[in-house]
């Protein structure tokens, strides 16, 4: 076993001493309270490959990282020898606007990638939380998504080629830099959402979309969740093609509306429907249909969001956060028809546990995000309250043919309840890819489903 000094020395040989951090400075990179022995910042795929070959030879446990916005996701890591930060791999590899595809290094900020593409009025159809901080690689590895997945799909629908560094340092690619390809197995799917437990994504090629000529949002308050859910069902069953259909509980809608400068009533649920298109009249015709389908809404309470207000509203939605020092974020995926119940149950459970709750739901995709805060619960009581909420909501999500994952929680919560909730029955099949791709278990050990 290498000493800490020896380790720093060896890592410096690969990337240069200025790109290695150890000692107290490394504790800023702690995951679930576990500080790494060292932090290393490779400058290329080749350096990443050399580092992994070294780590695998030494049996070092490696945690890949981008900007660190999702380090709270996953089980408590078994051991943290090396945090491997990809922020220096932040370049545009190639971009041909007329092909509407672009390749990026994994450490590029999504925001920076979008700004390059924006010059040609193109975009990557991903709008996950932490949109200004998150790296492309981190978004793909965690399959992070946002309101516009309704229009563009998720990472699995957008990535056409990928380059990864394996646990043993080998570099391989999957897919091709064309929008349609069935050559060999679809390796992109394997790595997306695998939380860096099979290999480290170092480059990805995505299909792009045009920036809509304009987008407007219909926003209205609803007295009850049932009325709001009914409106969602009618909109989804209509000729309207929304870019996003977002449902909020009162706490979340008041905060998001407030941040966009939109006045909001004292109670009720919020429903926001974004419509994009090429011509104002065409967009307005769809908005009019939405308005008609939203029965029981006072027309005086309906807001039409345009321009800056529109952008601010959706930014606040994506980056919604709640917290008074205590915070946990849960994400449920349920059948579209069960979203309303999922929201109501969340409120009921939070009230029982004395927790505060903001709910933001991609209602058109069946995704419900619960932002739990301390509320009236004491700091001592909070972890147990969250754990009990997770158990109740997870049981419901399973019954609604889906699942519930803890996106963020302090270690005290993770010690009480499983982050992922994979069933025993599903585990053996999930263990097999891990055994093939990382038999030594050096990549992110303990953080993925079933403690993989």
């Amino acid at each position: 076993m290498l000493s800490d000094e020896g380790l720093v020395q060896r890592l410096s040989d690969f990337v240069g001493p200025e790109h290695v951090t150890a000692g107290p400075a490394a504790s800023a990179y702690a995951v679930d309270g576990r500080a790494p022995r060292t932090v290393v910042f490779p400058g290329s795929a080749e350096e990443t490959s050399a580092l992994m070959a070294f780590a695998s030879a030494e049996g070092l446990k490696v945690l890949p990282r981008g900007s660190g916005t999702k380090m709270a996701l996953g089980g408590i890591p078994e051991r943290v020898d090396l945090v491997l930060v990809l922020s220096r791999l932040n370049g545009v590899v190639d971009y041909e606007p007329a092909d509407m595809t672009a390749s990026f290094q994994a450490g590029i900020l999504l925001k920076d990638a979008q700004s390059v593409l924006g010059r040609n009025r193109q975009l990557i159809g991903l709008d996950p939380p932490y949109v200004d901080l998150a790296t492309l690689g981190g978004i793909l590895a965690t399959n992070s998504s946002g309101p516009r997945r309704l229009r563009y799909g998720a990472s699995r629908d957008l990535v056409i080629a990928i380059r990864v560094v394996h646990a043993d340092g080998r570099v391989t690619k999957g897919g091709a830099k064309v929008v349609k390809n069935v050559t060999g197995y679809d390796m992109n799917k394997l790595y997306i959402g695998s939380l860096g437990t099979l290999a480290i994504i170092v480059e990805a090629t995505l299909r792009l979309h045009p920036v809509p000529a304009l987008e407007r949002t219909f926003l209205a308050p609803f007295r009850t969740i049932d009325v709001a859910s009914g409106a969602v069902a009618r909109i989804l069953d209509s000729p309207v093609v929304p870019s996003a259909v977002e449902l909020f509980n009162h706490t979340a809608s008041r905060q998001v509306a407030g941040q966009a400068g939109v006045p909001w009533p004292e109670e009720g649920y919020g429903l926001a429907v974004a419509i994009g298109g090429v011509r104002r009249e065409a967009v307005d015709a769809q908005i009019e249909t939405v308005r008609r389908l939203c029965r029981g809404v006072e027309s005086s309470e309906v807001h039409m969001l345009d321009g800056h207000v529109h952008d601010a509203f959706w930014r606040a939605t994506r980056d919604f956060t709640a917290g008074d020092g205590l915070r946990s974020v849960l994400k449920a995926s349920v059948l579209l028809t069960r979203v309303g119940e999922a929201v109501r149950l969340g409120e009921e459970v939070a009230a029982q546990q004395g927790l505060g709750l903001g709910v933001v739901s991609e209602a058109g995709s069946g995704i419900v995000r619960y932002y739990l805060t301390g509320g009236s619960a004491s700091p001592e009581r909070f972890p147990q309250g969250v754990a009990e909420a997770v158990n109740r909501l997870r049981a419901f999500a399973r019954e609604a043919e889906g699942n519930l994952v803890i996106l963020e929680a302090p270690p005290e919560v993770k010690k009480r309840v499983d982050v992922w909730g994979l069933t025993e029955k599903a585990l053996p099949l999930m263990q097999r890819p891990k055994a093939e791709f990382d038999p030594q278990r050096i990549l992110n050990p303990g953080r993925f489903v079933g403690g993989l």
């Binding site: 092909d99 998720a154 699995r156 679809d186 695998s194 093609v241 889906g402 791709f437």
Partner: protein, 489 residues
């Protein structure tokens, strides 16, 4: 050699006597798929009716170490459903039911043998449909579509099969029945559904498929542009996209295709045109109306000779009729054809079309091009007559040259037909040893004993891959020889 009588008797106990085929005359039906140049006789064919029966059959194969291949409708174009000589073939056409349609949750659950278009037909009264629509959709099965990750004309806007499959029930090669994915999004763990789609029947046998169903768009508009040059038609494709418009489909046909189609079905394409372009847009009515003028402007900028906009559904279907019938119509101008399926970045369309024209001259073989221009997915149909000495081989050589050129332009071997047996030797052009090694690890995840569909996808040089038809490697050596058998780019 397997003890056929004993095995057949045991299988009859699983699927019933009417579900086991051993008569050589009846077996002949299964000796090839849509790629008829390859033939192989299975020893036994079984026709199960349920997942439990599939599992029972597979358990026998697993115990006896009998290699086996699954088959849907047998319309595949790369030899993916070609039986293994001396092995078993599992035909899934009896498992053809729609198990559930859940409109409110936008999902349907179907059996693998269901014919693709039957699903859309069943959904139509409620105003819903299933998007992936390969040209063979009136015959091909959804299970086969899952195996090949099939595309079709609608992919530029709506994607291919993988974008519409949310969950699967599969029988693994040891007979275990497992569920992958769900009706809901973001299932836990690795996306094994995503990896399974497009695995060309080498991972397991699909027994249930959960698909996304979509509401029919309020309006659809189809335009046809008639061009005097391939280049103008190609540039129109990029031009439309550059306007920020993503059509549902952009299809191109060249003069040979147009003439074949006009002889065959009479869709009303001008037979003197060098190329026609079909462009279709859909969505809410006002939005679709707003897209038509910009598209026509682009076509005009690219010297379109004539534009026709379908005024009603009858006219629209007529425009599509020619495109849909194109492969079948080739018989009008050639006894046989050999089709390629490679892909290039859209911007390279004029270059590759020019190159295919040169090859056609050099090889003395006519080519009809009818393809998905919107995503750069070529379908050059190389026309030949195998009665003429050496023509088939020349056609295959020419096909290999097209593939090689596409890869050099940054493209892909196949966009929707699959590798199968046909293109496996080309794999090293695109992928390194390590790339292929990673894929073979996934194969081991599902099929550690290599019983399922052996000899497909991976080149014969790979460990554990059996030797296939010899002629294929000879052709490759000749065409790719200068590159030492090819290296991944």
């Amino acid at each position: 050699m397997i003890d056929k009588e004993r095995i057949a008797k045991e299988l009859a106990g699983v699927v019933g006597t009417d579900g086991v085929v051993i008569d050589p005359g009846e077996l002949r039906v299964y000796e090839t798929d849509g790629l008829t140049v390859f033939k192989a006789m299975p020893e036994i064919v079984v026709l199960p009716r349920s997942a439990e029966q599939v599992a029972g059959v597979v358990k026998v194969c697993h115990r006896e170490k009998i290699p086996f291949v699954a088959r849907g409708a047998g319309t595949g174009l790369s030899g993916g459903a070609l039986p293994v000589e001396g092995g078993m073939l599992v035909g899934l056409n009896r498992m053809n039911r729609i198990l559930e349609i859940d409109y409110e949750n936008q999902r349907a659950t179907v059996e693998p043998g269901l014919v693709n278009v039957w699903l859309t037909n069943a959904l139509a009264p409620q105003g819903y449909y299933y998007s992936p629509d390969p040209a063979s959709q009136t015959a091909c099965s959804i299970g086969g579509n899952v195996g090949e990750n099939s595309g079709g004309p609608r992919t530029p806007k709506y994607g291919v099969t993988t974008n519409h499959v949310l969950g699967l029930e599969v029988v693994l090669p040891d007979g275990e029945i497992v569920r992958l994915g769900a009706k809901t999004l973001d299932p836990l763990g690795y996306d094994l559904t995503g990896v399974f789609v497009g695995s060309e029947g080498t991972f397991g046998i699909v027994t249930k498929v959960i698909v996304r169903i979509m509401r029919k768009p309020e309006a659809v508009k189809t335009l046809m542009g008639v061009f005097e040059s391939i280049e103008d038609a190609s540039n129109s494709v990029s031009g439309v996209v550059a306007r920020g418009i993503i059509p549902v489909a952009i299809e191109m046909m060249d003069n040979n295709s147009i003439r074949a189609v006009e002889k065959g079905v009479g869709a009303g394409y001008p037979t003197d045109a060098v190329a026609v372009l079909l462009v279709e847009v859909d969505g809410p009515k006002d939005e679709v109306e707003a897209l038509v003028d910009p598209i026509i402007e682009v076509l005009k900028e690219n010297r379109v000779r004539e534009v026709r906009v379908a005024r009603d559904e009858t006219e629209r279907l007529l425009l599509w009729k020619g495109r849909k019938a194109a492969f079948a119509a080739m018989g009008q101008i050639s006894p046989e054809y050999y089709v390629q399926d490679s892909v290039i970045p859209r911007t390279r369309l004029p270059a590759i079309m020019g190159f295919i024209g040169e090859l056609s001259q050099r090889y003395g073989l006519r080519v009809a091009n009818v393809f998905h221009a919107g995503d750069g997915n070529l379908h050059p149909l190389i026309l030949y007559d195998s009665r003429n000495e050496g023509e088939l081989q020349r056609a295959e050589e020419m096909g290999a040259e097209i593939i090689k050129a596409c890869i050099e332009m940054g493209g892909s071997l196949t966009g929707e037909h699959g590798i199968g047996l046909e293109k496996r030797e080309f794999m090293p052009l695109m992928y390194t040893d390590d790339d292929l090694g990673a894929m073979q690890k996934v194969k081991k995840v599902f099929d550690p004993d290599g019983l399922l569909n052996p000899g497909k996808i991976f080149p014969t040089a790979r460990p554990g891959v059996e030797v296939g038809p010899a002629g294929q490697r000879e052709i490759l050596k000749k065409v790719l020889g200068a590159h030492g058998g090819g290296h991944a780019v």
